[in-house]
């Protein structure tokens, strides 16, 4: 054999192969792992040492007697081996002469449905296994629905263990018709049903003589030819900017992975959010500039003009722009043990952009067995709901059905940082169609203009007794003298009314500040200058309040008084009680105070009079143009 020639042939063949990413899903014990093991075994991708260790393991852990237990090839984690079920997504790789495959083996057990969604999000096809003896189960329906929800358009229904029902066509036909009755309401482009036995290799690689009534292709032959091309390259151009490349002053490149369409030097682009346009000058790579790049390529572009662009922006085709909005409707799959709370603030990450978001309305949840809608106030783990999401800042996006990369997002818990939800955008809720936004004509700016001021929040933070309320009071008086419209939210007055139901646990403290933040936001919307005087000991809460407001609307005023001085003042006798153990969770005594790192103003009350500090704050507002 002439090696280089064989090599060239081999490499040429490799180049031509397309890649199919698919997932296998089904209920516990339907034989997913066995099927993948069988595919790896029969496509001769197992190495001799892996085989030897497999034979050894089969005797030790196997559930198939003397035969090789293929599932052991795939079930990687110790816990799974012992329980005989797959608990996480495992990725496997194999290839035939026609195609390369990446298969996601996803969990069957209900508590790992989120892992299945993970596998589905990166797959083009789903193989749904059904145990021929059991027929279509709840899990089968759930998995078919989630596959469709995550945009998988191609389904293979693998009716497994057909040997255990005597290769019966009647059983097969009845399962297929059951499944179709359900899947007719899902949006699949192709559905192919195949009777198989993963354990004995029936209709996996080769057509079996045991099922003469089956006229279709065996599984692998179908996977080799099924056309799943989503033609992302033909969609409108989208480049979510991941990183701005600035090695020196002369070079400014915008790096990211193209999420849709194609791009050439000379093409016009628009920055979706700002609407600024420019032209692409170069597609820069280490191996020289490229004439064109398409969806899926990781690129660095340079532009003809100095345009303000940062991470999170989307560069797009000016003739087919993405939607820019701060509200949209979406399907949401909940992935956390802690249930979804509408109104709570989460972080939303879409493409390369991250920002605060909340579920403003939970329209309904979807029963995955019947696809019916039910009213709901919350979503539990593995439940799917249809929701409205509202963002702190507008984002550029597409509908998920048009583009997975610019239409799919995750929600992150702000405190645990866990990924708690996966969402698929359905459509934008334009302000005009939003019932909460009827009075666009009299908006914040109009209301502020009538009052001759710019609305803002002065957020006073500091220890109990530091002087927050005293100074805030003096500031409000001084503003009133100048004819400005203000409102003071004070720890005590709010806790007696709006927040009467809240105590001092961590959760209640967070909710307390959230409500104060929201109330302040409404007052700002009304055009007022709002002063808040709360200990607000945690940075994350203060950040949450800051993010509710616009960029120039929030000023943190740190009333920096040493705790010894506060204790000495002790205007309400609280330190005395706390030290005696009569008050729990008292800030500075047995609960921490996290001082601000970047407050707009810091007031040292041990120096100067309260009156002088108040005047300084008023001067600050005047200098910044807030007092008209």
């Amino acid at each position: 054999m002439n090696a280089p020639t064989a090599l060239q042939q081999f490499l040429a063949a490799q180049e031509k192969k397309s890649l199919l990413r698919f997932l296998t899903c089904g209920s516990v014990d339907d034989g997913k792992s066995t099927l993948i093991g069988r595919l790896l075994y029969d496509t001769k991708l197992l190495f001799e040492d892996t085989l030897a260790s497999l034979e050894k393991d089969s005797k030790k852990f196997g559930t198939t007697g003397e035969d090789i237990d293929f599932a052991l090839l795939v079930d990687g984690l110790e816990a799974e081996r012992e329980q005989g079920i797959t608990i996480d997504v495992a990725y496997r790789f194999f290839a035939t002469d026609k195609r390369k495959f990446i298969v996601a083996d996803t969990p069957g057990h209900e508590q790992y449905t989120r892992n299945m969604a993970t596998g589905a999000s990166n797959s083009d096809l789903a193989v749904i296994l059904i145990d021929a003896r059991k027929g279509v189960l709840t899990q089968t329906r759930r998995h078919a629905y989630i596959a469709s929800l995550l945009g998988i358009r191609h389904i293979v229904l693998a009716v497994n263990k057909i040997d255990l029902v005597d290769y019966s066509q009647a059983v097969f036909d009845s399962i297929v018709s059951d499944f179709h009755a359900f899947s007719a309401r899902l949006n699949f482009a192709s559905q192919v049903a195949i009777p198989i036995s993963a354990r004995f290799g029936v209709n996996v690689i080769e057509k079996s003589k045991d099922t003469p009534w089956y006229s279709g292709p065996p599984l692998l032959a179908h996977l080799e030819v099924v056309d799943v091309d989503t033609a992302l390259a033909d969609k409108p151009f989208r480049l979510p900017v991941q990183w701005v490349n600035r090695p020196d002053l002369n070079f400014r490149g915008f790096a990211g992975t193209i999420a849709g369409g194609r791009v050439k030097p000379g093409d016009s682009i628009v920055v979706a959010k700002s609407g600024r346009t420019s032209k692409v000058t170069r597609i820069v790579t280490m191996d020289g500039d490229r004439p064109e790049a398409v969806a899926g390529d990781a690129v660095t572009l340079t532009l003809a003009d100095e345009v303000d662009i940062s991470r999170g922006d989307v560069l797009a085709d000016p003739h087919a722009r993405p939607v820019v909005s701060d509200q949209f409707a979406a399907h949401l799959l909940w992935m956390s043990d802690e249930e979804l709370l509408p109104g709570r603030q989460y972080l939303l990450k879409l493409g390369t952009a991250t920002g605060p978001a909340q579920v403003s309305a939970l329209k309904h949840k979807i029963d995955v067995n019947t696809l019916d809608s039910h009213a709901a106030r919350t979503l539990a783990l593995n439940e799917v709901g249809y929701v409205n999401i509202s963002l702190a800042q507008p984002l550029a996006f597409d509908a998920y059905r048009d583009n997975r990369d610019t239409g799919g997002f995750i929600l992150i818990d702000r405190f645990t940082n866990a990924t708690v939800g996966a969402g698929m955008i359905d459509f934008s809720l334009m302000r005009a169609t939003n019932v909460h936004w009827q009075a666009v004509d009299v908006n914040k700016e109009a209301r502020a203009a009538m009052k001759g001021q710019k609305p803002a929040v002065l957020w006073f933070t500091g220890l109990s007794g530091s002087g927050k309320s005293t100074i805030a009071n003096l500031v409000e008086k001084a503003l009133a003298v100048e004819g400005k419209h203000t409102y003071l939210l004070d720890g005590d007055n709010v806790r007696h009314g709006l927040n009467r139901d809240l105590g001092f646990t961590d959760a209640d403290r967070v909710e307390n500040i959230r409500r104060v933040g929201e109330a302040a936001k409404l007052f700002v919307d009304a055009g007022l200058i709002v002063l808040t005087a709360f200990i607000s000991p945690f940075r994350s809460e203060r950040r949450m309040a800051r993010e509710l407001l616009g960029e120039d609307e929030f000023f943190e005023v740190f009333v920096d008084t040493p705790i010894e001085v506060c204790m000495q003042r002790d205007p309400k006798g609280l330190y005395e009680k706390a030290k005696a153990g009569k008050i729990k969770n008292f800030t500075g005594i047995d609960s921490p105070y996290e001082a601000p790192e970047r407050a707009e103003m810091t007031i040292k009350t041990v120096e100067g009079t309260a009156q002088a500090h108040a005047q300084a704050i008023v001067k600050y507002l005047r200098d910044k143009g807030y007092l008209g």
Binding site: A3, D75, N122
Partner: protein
Amino acid sequence: MREVAAEFANPVMLYSIGKDSSVMLHLAMKAFYPSKPPFPLMHVDTTWKFKEMIDFRDQTVERLGLKLITHINQDGVKRGINPFDSGSSLHTQVMKTESLKQALDKYGFDAAFGGARRDEEKSRAKERIFSFRTASHAWDPKNQRPELWRVYNTRINKGESIRVFPLSNWTELDIWQYILAENIPIVPLYFAKKRPVVERDGTLIMRDDERMTLRPGEKVEDRLVRFRTLGCYPLTGAIESDADSLEDIVTEMFTARTSERQGRLIDSDEKASMEKKKKEGYF
């Protein structure tokens, strides 16, 4: 990689000098071009690496003009840990796993790139691309963050970190084809050459220095061998081969019948040993 550079304060690239590291480094050079990768490389040196690996490492860093941090677990050196007397498992635990943790703590890295691939080993098949580690560097396979689309959750609290595996979806064959296509420099040990080897417990060990003492009946022979994977020389088995060019290696690959980690003695020590090591903080 650019996601990490954009989202983390203090990332680092773990550079093991092997072929996967070479590919990963090459990708980083391309991803940030014309800038240099905005993070240092770090090599956790067990003091038992092949001499040729260390030479190659130093040349590479010099050629590319990058910053390299080398970390050796001095505590382990003092304790005299070595792969012959301590056993491969203790040696790996102390000189690699512990050492890596020390280094990550010392420099306060919040994200570390590794060249691991999902096709290497069963528990790695379930690894995320962005894999969360607790403040004590532990991996909890049952509590991994779901990873949807190409949206990676990069949020961590102080002290926690993320391990990032950009080559997760590459196979060994992909690696070699890419090295061939891009002409990426690799350590010469991957190419066949006459080398002094000792046959021990059915594995060919290259005697890289005098620290390896011969057992009765063992003798050093010059044989034409190469390595499919590189680690500590006493723990890395050579294969007999005459593949002395990239083309020959890829040709050998598509007829190969033995998986690459078999040359690594540490994996077969105990069943599910990789999973154990990973929970403890190994890459």
